[in-house]
């Protein structure tokens, strides 16, 4: 495994647990998106993974090595870009690249030139005089030019305009197409997650509430809508019917685990005998994710994962 978390817990001095008993394996070659609301613990998890923070309990492992024991030869295979990353601002872009190059035996000059051209960065400009988007491009440049085996991205697209996003996405997609690269991505941007990631994990108050392959998750779920003259919600709704919303004439929700559509339809008809115009369709990631978050708000589960499809 490229990345592993074992009972990882981080408790700050105030007592709140930013990450709680996180156990997770990221398969090499996959693009994993860590999602969750603000303050869910995504950035803390990444900082624990990179040994920027010390865990209270448990451990994060990269390349099979505990984060606290990562050596330079491991970091030579690791790329990291964060929206809050501090760069050596006193350097110009060309100096920044010259500064990094000797630290990475696998530094690829041709790739560097190609990315510089793609990003259209002003090479003689100091880093502290670049716009936010250009700084992110410079950070990407400094993380991609040595073709890292593992790339860790913390909100890389946050606050960027569409053109900047597209440039960075193009670079990332090219990077992913080059071989078995593992990407660990934290993002709020569902569009980018859907486009890049094959696996997601959702943190809820520091605990891993949901994770799995996106295609698997979505293929087992159904976005349900139907009409009824009695749009009230009974008390015995199954736990995996997320975020039921009533309107004057009907009800919609996301059924998270649907092994059999006929059984789901029967369950609906048993509760709303007059249910008509029943529609069952696989939800998009956005709908699925938002309904999950709303569900966890309404039914908080302390310290344990939500039941998930296999």
């Amino acid at each position: 495994m490229s990345i592993q978390f074992r009972s990882l817990t981080k408790q700050y001095r105030a007592g709140a647990e930013a990450v709680r008993d996180l156990t997770l394996d990221i398969v090499p070659g996959s693009v994993f998106a860590l999602m969750g609301r603000n303050g869910a613990g995504k950035t803390t998890t990444i900082q624990l993974l990179l040994d920027l923070l010390l865990p209270t309990h448990g451990e994060a492992r990269l390349f099979g090595v505990p984060a606290a024991k990562l050596r330079p030869e491991h970091r030579q295979r690791l790329g990291y870009v964060s929206e809050n990353q501090r760069l050596p601002d006193w350097m110009r872009v060309d100096e920044f690249l010259r500064f990094l190059k000797p630290m990475y035996p696998a530094w690829d000059g041709v790739l560097t030139q190609r990315l510089v051209k793609l990003f259209a960065l002003p090479m003689t400009q100091r880093l502290d005089r670049l716009s936010r988007g250009q700084r992110m491009k410079a950070a990407f440049l400094g993380a991609l030019c040595y073709r890292p085996d593992v790339l860790v991205l913390d909100e890389p697209f946050s606050g960027l305009d569409s053109v900047m996003r597209q440039d960075l996405l193009d670079a990332l997609i090219e990077f992913l197409g080059e071989g078995e690269r593992t990407v660990f991505l934290s993002s709020h941007d569902l569009g980018e997650v859907e486009r890049l990631a094959d696996t997601i994990g959702v943190l809820d108050h520091g605990s891993l509430g949901l994770h799995g392959n996106i295609d698997d998750l979505l293929s087992h779920a159904r976005e349900v809508s139907f009409l009824t003259a009695t749009p009230q919600l009974p008390a015995d709704l199954p736990a995996d019917w997320w975020n039921p919303v009533t309107s004057p004439h009907g009800i919609t929700f996301t059924a998270a685990t649907v092994p059999d559509e006929a059984a789901l339809a029967a369950a609906i008809h048993s509760r709303w005998p007059d249910a008509g115009s029943l529609t069952l369709r696989p939800p998009g990631l956005s709908r699925y994710y938002i309904d999950y978050l709303r569900h966890t708000e309404a039914h908080p589960v302390a310290g344990s994962s939500t039941a998930l499809p296999a």
Binding site: Q76, S82, M103
Partner: protein, 272 residues
């Protein structure tokens, strides 16, 4: 070693303006002190004030300069650049300590050592005080060394380093005085050490508060340089200005200068 040299080269480039400015300042200051040898010039109040301001400014500049180098790449924090790169703490720390030690401890000490025999400034408590001051700076280097490698418990280590600097400053001068069989200059030497060390600790705290908070506005981070710059500027101007403006004559130097005692200016003439 390769990585150490790499960081050293880039740090020299990074601090080139600071180091150039400091070298010019400390060389100019030493030449001035050498020229102001009581054997060469007659000491008058204006001159004493000038030297006091200049000396204090240079001392603060020296301490802040070294702290600036040592804390340029923060030790702790979750956005520290070098910690996400294949750069072990040792070469990163060694490069900074090497620069701080050479520029802010060895250079002024060496220049003073050169100036002493030429200007016959030795055989006075001033030389011992100077040596004690350099010891304090070495203490700060020790603090930096402890801090740069720190990944946890930074506050504890910084306090430990400051304590180390304090102990060195207190025991250094008397020990040196005894070792060289020179006069220990009575209790005033200890008093000097305590007062200047308290200033050092306060200044260090101020510096670290302002500089380590990278979220602070640029002017806050740069404001720490205002005090030494102002003192150096005042020291440069006070003589000619005092000739023209009566009010400035009220500005006094430290007691030793006011009393009209024989003056051997040393960087320990911190405000008391």
């Amino acid at each position: 070693m390769k990585l150490f040299l790499h960081w050293l080269c880039w740090d020299l480039r990074r601090f080139r303006i600071l180091l150039l400015g400091w070298t010019i300042l400390v060389v100019g200051y030493t030449v001035l002190i050498r020229w102001l040898n009581p054997e060469n010039v007659r000491w008058e109040p204006d001159l004493a004030r000038t030297v006091w301001f200049l000396t204090t400014g240079v001392v603060i500049f020296e301490v802040f300069g070294m702290l600036h180098v040592l804390t340029a790449d923060p030790v702790v924090g979750t956005d520290v650049f070098w910690k996400t790169r294949p750069a072990p703490g040792l070469p990163v720390a060694a490069a900074k300590i090497g620069i701080a030690l050479t520029a802010f401890v060895l250079l002024p000490l060496g220049l003073h050592a050169l100036a002493v025999p030429v200007g016959r400034l030795g055989a006075s408590p001033g030389w011992q005080i100077l040596e004690g001051f350099q010891l304090r700076l070495l203490g700060l280097v020790a603090l930096g060394a402890a801090a740069v490698k720190t990944t946890a418990g930074a506050t504890v280590r910084i306090l430990t380093g400051l304590g180390l600097a304090l102990v060195l400053s207190l025991v250094g001068p008397p020990l040196l005085g005894l070792a060289s069989m020179k006069s220990a200059a009575g209790g005033s030497l200890t008093e000097y050490s305590i007062v200047s060390c308290l200033w050092l600790v306060a200044g260090t705290g101020l510096f670290l508060s302002a500089r380590r908070s990278h979220h602070a506005a640029a002017w806050v981070r740069w404001s720490v340089w205002i005090a030494p710059s102002l003192l150096i500027l005042l020291g440069t101007l006070i003589g000619p200005l005092a000739q023209r403006y009566e009010a400035l004559r009220a500005i006094h130097g430290p007691p030793a200068i006011r009393s009209g005692a024989p003056i051997v200016p040393t960087p320990t003439a911190l405000p008391s």
